[in-house]
Protein backbone atom coordinates (compact mmCIF):
# COMPACT_ATOMS: atom_id res chain seq x y z
CA UNK A 1 0.00 0.00 0.00
CA UNK A 2 1.28 3.40 -0.89
CA UNK A 3 1.14 6.25 1.57
CA UNK A 4 2.02 9.90 1.13
CA UNK A 5 5.73 9.21 0.85
CA UNK A 6 6.31 12.68 -0.57
CA UNK A 7 6.13 14.00 3.00
CA UNK A 8 9.36 12.22 3.78
CA UNK A 9 11.02 12.35 0.37
CA UNK A 10 10.25 15.80 -1.01
CA UNK A 11 8.82 16.36 -4.44
CA UNK A 12 11.88 14.96 -6.11
CA UNK A 13 12.24 11.28 -5.37
CA UNK A 14 15.87 10.81 -4.45
CA UNK A 15 15.42 7.07 -4.89
CA UNK A 16 14.58 7.46 -8.58
CA UNK A 17 17.75 9.27 -9.50
CA UNK A 18 20.45 10.34 -7.06
CA UNK A 19 21.23 13.57 -8.94
CA UNK A 20 17.74 15.00 -9.13
CA UNK A 21 16.47 17.95 -7.17
CA UNK A 22 17.86 21.40 -6.64
CA UNK A 23 21.55 21.61 -7.58
CA UNK A 24 21.65 17.92 -8.41
CA UNK A 25 20.32 17.58 -11.97
CA UNK A 26 22.57 15.49 -14.19
CA UNK A 27 22.73 17.92 -17.12
CA UNK A 28 22.76 21.66 -17.42
CA UNK A 29 24.28 24.40 -15.30
CA UNK A 30 26.98 23.71 -12.74
CA UNK A 31 26.23 23.92 -9.03
CA UNK A 32 27.62 27.41 -8.61
CA UNK A 33 25.52 28.77 -11.47
CA UNK A 34 22.39 27.15 -10.02
CA UNK A 35 23.16 28.74 -6.67
CA UNK A 36 23.56 32.11 -8.42
CA UNK A 37 20.17 31.66 -10.08
CA UNK A 38 18.67 30.71 -6.70
CA UNK A 39 20.23 33.82 -5.19
CA UNK A 40 18.57 36.03 -7.82
CA UNK A 41 15.14 34.41 -7.40
CA UNK A 42 15.27 34.64 -3.60
CA UNK A 43 16.52 38.22 -3.61
CA UNK A 44 13.97 39.44 -6.13
CA UNK A 45 11.23 37.87 -3.99
CA UNK A 46 12.54 39.75 -0.95
CA UNK A 47 13.81 36.65 0.87
CA UNK A 48 17.16 38.09 1.88
CA UNK A 49 18.03 35.39 4.39
CA UNK A 50 17.57 32.73 1.73
CA UNK A 51 19.47 34.89 -0.77
CA UNK A 52 22.42 35.05 1.62
CA UNK A 53 22.34 31.27 1.98
CA UNK A 54 22.47 30.76 -1.78
CA UNK A 55 25.12 33.48 -2.07
CA UNK A 56 27.40 31.52 0.27
CA UNK A 57 26.95 28.40 -1.86
CA UNK A 58 27.56 30.34 -5.08
CA UNK A 59 30.67 32.00 -3.66
CA UNK A 60 32.15 28.64 -2.69
CA UNK A 61 31.33 26.95 -5.99
CA UNK A 62 32.13 29.79 -8.39
CA UNK A 63 35.16 31.17 -6.55
CA UNK A 64 34.13 34.67 -7.53
CA UNK A 65 33.17 36.32 -4.25
CA UNK A 66 33.19 39.83 -5.72
CA UNK A 67 30.61 39.00 -8.39
CA UNK A 68 28.33 37.29 -5.89
CA UNK A 69 28.66 40.05 -3.31
CA UNK A 70 27.84 42.62 -6.00
CA UNK A 71 24.76 40.71 -7.10
CA UNK A 72 23.61 40.22 -3.51
CA UNK A 73 24.08 43.89 -2.71
CA UNK A 74 22.76 45.53 -5.87
CA UNK A 75 20.30 42.96 -7.23
CA UNK A 76 18.79 43.54 -10.66
CA UNK A 77 19.45 45.05 -13.10
CA UNK A 78 22.63 43.09 -12.63
CA UNK A 79 25.98 44.84 -12.89
CA UNK A 80 27.59 41.53 -13.82
CA UNK A 81 28.80 40.91 -17.36
CA UNK A 82 29.58 37.72 -19.27
CA UNK A 83 27.95 34.37 -18.59
CA UNK A 84 27.09 35.05 -14.94
CA UNK A 85 25.49 38.37 -15.86
CA UNK A 86 23.46 36.72 -18.62
CA UNK A 87 22.25 33.99 -16.25
CA UNK A 88 21.37 36.48 -13.50
CA UNK A 89 19.39 38.71 -15.86
CA UNK A 90 17.51 35.79 -17.41
CA UNK A 91 16.76 34.32 -13.96
CA UNK A 92 15.28 37.65 -12.90
CA UNK A 93 13.10 37.78 -16.01
CA UNK A 94 11.84 34.24 -15.49
CA UNK A 95 11.18 34.85 -11.79
CA UNK A 96 8.77 37.74 -12.39
CA UNK A 97 5.12 37.23 -11.44
CA UNK A 98 4.42 36.97 -15.15
CA UNK A 99 7.56 35.18 -16.37
CA UNK A 100 9.19 36.74 -19.39
CA UNK A 101 12.27 36.02 -21.40
CA UNK A 102 12.82 38.39 -24.27
CA UNK A 103 14.91 38.10 -27.38
CA UNK A 104 17.61 40.25 -25.82
CA UNK A 105 17.99 38.06 -22.74
CA UNK A 106 18.03 34.90 -24.83
CA UNK A 107 20.60 36.26 -27.30
CA UNK A 108 22.78 37.24 -24.37
CA UNK A 109 22.54 33.71 -22.96
CA UNK A 110 23.32 32.12 -26.32
CA UNK A 111 26.27 34.40 -27.01
CA UNK A 112 27.69 33.43 -23.62
CA UNK A 113 27.56 29.74 -24.49
CA UNK A 114 24.35 28.75 -22.68
CA UNK A 115 23.02 25.75 -24.61
CA UNK A 116 19.52 24.24 -24.64
CA UNK A 117 20.23 21.81 -21.76
CA UNK A 118 21.44 24.71 -19.64
CA UNK A 119 18.43 26.83 -20.63
CA UNK A 120 16.04 24.09 -19.47
CA UNK A 121 18.06 23.79 -16.26
CA UNK A 122 17.82 27.55 -15.75
CA UNK A 123 14.01 27.37 -16.08
CA UNK A 124 13.88 24.35 -13.74
CA UNK A 125 16.07 26.05 -11.14
CA UNK A 126 13.94 29.20 -11.18
CA UNK A 127 10.84 26.99 -10.88
CA UNK A 128 12.28 24.98 -8.02
CA UNK A 129 13.36 28.00 -5.99
CA UNK A 130 10.08 29.84 -6.69
CA UNK A 131 8.15 26.79 -5.51
CA UNK A 132 10.06 26.63 -2.24
CA UNK A 133 9.82 30.31 -1.27
CA UNK A 134 6.58 30.00 0.71
CA UNK A 135 8.06 27.08 2.64
CA UNK A 136 11.10 29.19 3.46
CA UNK A 137 8.76 31.77 5.01
CA UNK A 138 7.09 29.08 7.11
CA UNK A 139 10.43 27.71 8.32
CA UNK A 140 11.68 31.16 9.14
CA UNK A 141 8.58 31.88 11.23
CA UNK A 142 8.83 28.55 13.01
Amino acid sequence: MMSDTSIQQGIFHASVHPRQGLFRRAQGLDEGERALVALVVSREAGHMELAHHHARMATTALRDPFAIALLLEEGLPSPLTGRLGALATAAGALARKQPSLGRFELKRLVSNGVDADELVDLVATVAEVSGSLHAAVSRHDA
Partner: protein, 194 residues
Protein backbone atom coordinates in the same frame (compact mmCIF):
# COMPACT_ATOMS: atom_id res chain seq x y z
CA UNK B 1 -9.47 4.88 -5.67
CA UNK B 2 -8.10 4.70 -9.22
CA UNK B 3 -4.81 6.50 -9.73
CA UNK B 4 -5.17 8.91 -12.62
CA UNK B 5 -2.14 9.26 -14.83
CA UNK B 6 -1.48 12.90 -15.64
CA UNK B 7 1.45 15.12 -15.32
CA UNK B 8 4.04 17.66 -16.17
CA UNK B 9 5.33 15.32 -18.85
CA UNK B 10 2.06 15.66 -20.80
CA UNK B 11 1.97 19.43 -20.36
CA UNK B 12 5.54 19.83 -21.62
CA UNK B 13 4.88 17.51 -24.54
CA UNK B 14 2.12 19.86 -25.70
CA UNK B 15 4.34 22.96 -25.63
CA UNK B 16 5.47 24.10 -29.11
CA UNK B 17 9.19 23.63 -28.49
CA UNK B 18 11.80 23.65 -31.25
CA UNK B 19 13.98 20.61 -31.83
CA UNK B 20 16.85 21.75 -29.60
CA UNK B 21 14.65 22.63 -26.65
CA UNK B 22 12.59 19.46 -27.07
CA UNK B 23 15.75 17.35 -26.91
CA UNK B 24 16.89 19.22 -23.79
CA UNK B 25 13.54 18.58 -22.11
CA UNK B 26 13.76 14.91 -23.12
CA UNK B 27 17.18 14.79 -21.44
CA UNK B 28 15.41 15.64 -18.16
CA UNK B 29 12.86 12.86 -18.63
CA UNK B 30 13.80 11.02 -15.40
CA UNK B 31 13.40 14.16 -13.29
CA UNK B 32 10.08 15.02 -14.95
CA UNK B 33 8.75 11.49 -14.40
CA UNK B 34 9.80 11.75 -10.75
CA UNK B 35 7.73 14.94 -10.44
CA UNK B 36 4.74 13.14 -11.94
CA UNK B 37 5.21 10.38 -9.35
CA UNK B 38 5.24 13.02 -6.62
CA UNK B 39 2.02 14.46 -8.00
CA UNK B 40 0.35 11.07 -7.79
CA UNK B 41 1.63 10.56 -4.26
CA UNK B 42 0.36 13.96 -3.17
CA UNK B 43 -2.97 14.13 -5.00
CA UNK B 44 -3.94 10.45 -5.18
CA UNK B 45 -2.49 8.72 -2.10
CA UNK B 46 -4.09 5.48 -0.97
CA UNK B 47 -3.92 6.71 2.62
CA UNK B 48 -4.73 10.38 2.69
CA UNK B 49 -3.70 11.07 6.29
CA UNK B 50 -4.39 14.52 7.75
CA UNK B 51 -5.53 16.07 4.45
CA UNK B 52 -8.34 14.37 2.51
CA UNK B 53 -8.01 13.66 -1.19
CA UNK B 54 -10.74 16.17 -2.00
CA UNK B 55 -8.89 18.83 0.00
CA UNK B 56 -5.58 18.01 -1.69
CA UNK B 57 -7.08 18.35 -5.16
CA UNK B 58 -9.03 21.48 -4.22
CA UNK B 59 -5.77 23.05 -3.01
CA UNK B 60 -4.10 22.10 -6.30
CA UNK B 61 -6.91 23.80 -8.27
CA UNK B 62 -6.69 26.87 -6.08
CA UNK B 63 -2.90 27.31 -6.32
CA UNK B 64 -2.90 26.72 -10.09
CA UNK B 65 -5.72 29.25 -10.51
CA UNK B 66 -3.91 31.88 -8.44
CA UNK B 67 -1.04 31.52 -10.91
CA UNK B 68 -3.34 31.73 -13.97
CA UNK B 69 -2.09 28.46 -15.48
CA UNK B 70 -5.23 27.32 -17.30
CA UNK B 71 -4.04 23.87 -18.34
CA UNK B 72 -3.12 22.92 -14.78
CA UNK B 73 -6.40 24.32 -13.43
CA UNK B 74 -8.36 22.17 -15.89
CA UNK B 75 -6.31 19.09 -15.08
CA UNK B 76 -6.81 19.40 -11.32
CA UNK B 77 -10.50 20.29 -11.74
CA UNK B 78 -11.00 17.06 -13.66
CA UNK B 79 -9.17 15.19 -10.92
CA UNK B 80 -11.26 16.91 -8.23
CA UNK B 81 -14.56 16.16 -9.97
CA UNK B 82 -13.61 12.46 -10.09
CA UNK B 83 -12.89 12.33 -6.34
CA UNK B 84 -15.15 10.19 -4.17
CA UNK B 85 -17.64 12.50 -2.45
CA UNK B 86 -16.82 15.53 -4.58
CA UNK B 87 -18.47 15.69 -7.97
CA UNK B 88 -18.77 18.47 -10.50
CA UNK B 89 -20.78 20.83 -8.28
CA UNK B 90 -18.07 21.14 -5.63
CA UNK B 91 -15.44 21.38 -8.36
CA UNK B 92 -17.42 24.19 -9.96
CA UNK B 93 -17.74 26.13 -6.69
CA UNK B 94 -14.04 25.78 -5.94
CA UNK B 95 -13.13 26.83 -9.46
CA UNK B 96 -15.33 29.92 -9.15
CA UNK B 97 -13.73 30.82 -5.81
CA UNK B 98 -10.26 30.24 -7.21
CA UNK B 99 -11.05 32.49 -10.19
CA UNK B 100 -12.31 35.26 -7.91
CA UNK B 101 -9.24 34.95 -5.70
CA UNK B 102 -6.98 35.00 -8.77
CA UNK B 103 -8.67 38.16 -10.03
CA UNK B 104 -8.05 39.87 -6.68
CA UNK B 105 -4.57 38.38 -6.07
CA UNK B 106 -2.33 39.61 -4.44
CA UNK B 107 -5.09 41.47 -2.55
CA UNK B 108 -6.74 39.02 -0.14
CA UNK B 109 -10.09 37.58 -1.11
CA UNK B 110 -12.32 35.58 1.21
CA UNK B 111 -15.02 33.26 -0.16
CA UNK B 112 -18.55 34.65 -0.13
CA UNK B 113 -20.75 33.18 2.65
CA UNK B 114 -22.67 30.99 0.19
CA UNK B 115 -19.49 29.54 -1.30
CA UNK B 116 -18.00 29.18 2.16
CA UNK B 117 -20.94 27.05 3.22
CA UNK B 118 -20.51 24.81 0.18
CA UNK B 119 -16.75 24.33 0.33
CA UNK B 120 -16.64 24.11 4.12
CA UNK B 121 -14.88 26.12 6.79
CA UNK B 122 -11.75 23.96 6.67
CA UNK B 123 -11.03 24.63 2.99
CA UNK B 124 -11.95 28.30 3.37
CA UNK B 125 -9.35 28.59 6.14
CA UNK B 126 -6.63 26.92 4.11
CA UNK B 127 -7.38 28.97 1.00
CA UNK B 128 -6.89 32.15 3.04
CA UNK B 129 -3.69 30.64 4.48
CA UNK B 130 -2.39 29.91 0.97
CA UNK B 131 -3.07 33.48 -0.12
CA UNK B 132 -1.23 34.74 2.96
CA UNK B 133 1.78 32.51 2.21
CA UNK B 134 1.97 33.79 -1.36
CA UNK B 135 1.77 37.43 -0.34
CA UNK B 136 4.03 37.30 2.74
CA UNK B 137 1.11 38.24 4.97
CA UNK B 138 2.52 36.98 8.28
CA UNK B 139 -0.67 37.61 10.24
CA UNK B 140 -2.76 35.69 7.71
CA UNK B 141 -0.27 32.83 7.70
CA UNK B 142 -0.90 32.29 11.39
CA UNK B 143 -4.65 31.72 10.91
CA UNK B 144 -4.77 27.95 10.50
CA UNK B 145 -7.70 26.94 12.69
CA UNK B 146 -8.41 23.24 12.29
CA UNK B 147 -5.18 22.44 10.47
CA UNK B 148 -2.44 20.49 12.25
CA UNK B 149 1.27 20.98 11.57
CA UNK B 150 1.32 17.72 9.60
CA UNK B 151 -1.65 18.83 7.52
CA UNK B 152 0.00 22.18 6.79
CA UNK B 153 3.11 20.28 5.76
CA UNK B 154 1.06 18.49 3.11
CA UNK B 155 -0.42 21.82 1.99
CA UNK B 156 3.08 23.23 1.66
CA UNK B 157 4.23 20.29 -0.43
CA UNK B 158 1.26 20.60 -2.76
CA UNK B 159 1.99 24.32 -3.16
CA UNK B 160 5.65 23.57 -3.92
CA UNK B 161 4.68 21.01 -6.53
CA UNK B 162 2.09 23.18 -8.27
CA UNK B 163 4.21 26.34 -8.29
CA UNK B 164 7.14 24.35 -9.67
CA UNK B 165 4.98 23.06 -12.51
CA UNK B 166 3.46 26.49 -13.21
CA UNK B 167 6.92 28.05 -13.43
CA UNK B 168 8.34 25.22 -15.51
CA UNK B 169 5.53 25.40 -18.08
CA UNK B 170 5.46 29.22 -18.22
CA UNK B 171 9.26 29.47 -18.36
CA UNK B 172 9.64 26.98 -21.18
CA UNK B 173 6.80 28.65 -23.04
CA UNK B 174 8.72 31.94 -22.82
CA UNK B 175 11.91 30.26 -24.00
CA UNK B 176 10.09 28.77 -26.97
CA UNK B 177 8.73 32.16 -27.99
CA UNK B 178 12.09 33.89 -27.60
CA UNK B 179 13.89 31.19 -29.55
CA UNK B 180 11.60 31.69 -32.53
CA UNK B 181 13.53 34.90 -33.12
CA UNK B 182 16.97 33.92 -31.91
CA UNK B 183 17.44 30.44 -33.35
CA UNK B 184 18.04 31.72 -36.92
CA UNK B 185 20.89 33.82 -35.53
CA UNK B 186 22.17 30.79 -33.66
CA UNK B 187 22.55 28.94 -36.95
CA UNK B 188 25.10 31.55 -37.89
CA UNK B 189 27.32 30.36 -35.08
CA UNK B 190 26.04 31.68 -31.77
CA UNK B 191 24.42 28.55 -30.43
CA UNK B 192 25.81 25.30 -29.09
CA UNK B 193 22.56 23.36 -29.40
CA UNK B 194 21.89 23.15 -33.12
Amino acid sequence: MPRISTGLNDALTRLPLDKGLRKAVDNQRDAICAIDMSERDLLSPERAGPVSIIERRAIAVYVAALHHERELVDRYLTLLAKSDGAGPVLAHVIEAEARRAAAHHPAPHLPAPTSRALIGERLAVVFAHIQALLTDDRRGQARTLGWSADALGVVSRIMTLIIFQVRMIAGLRQCAIARQNVVPLAREGYSHDV
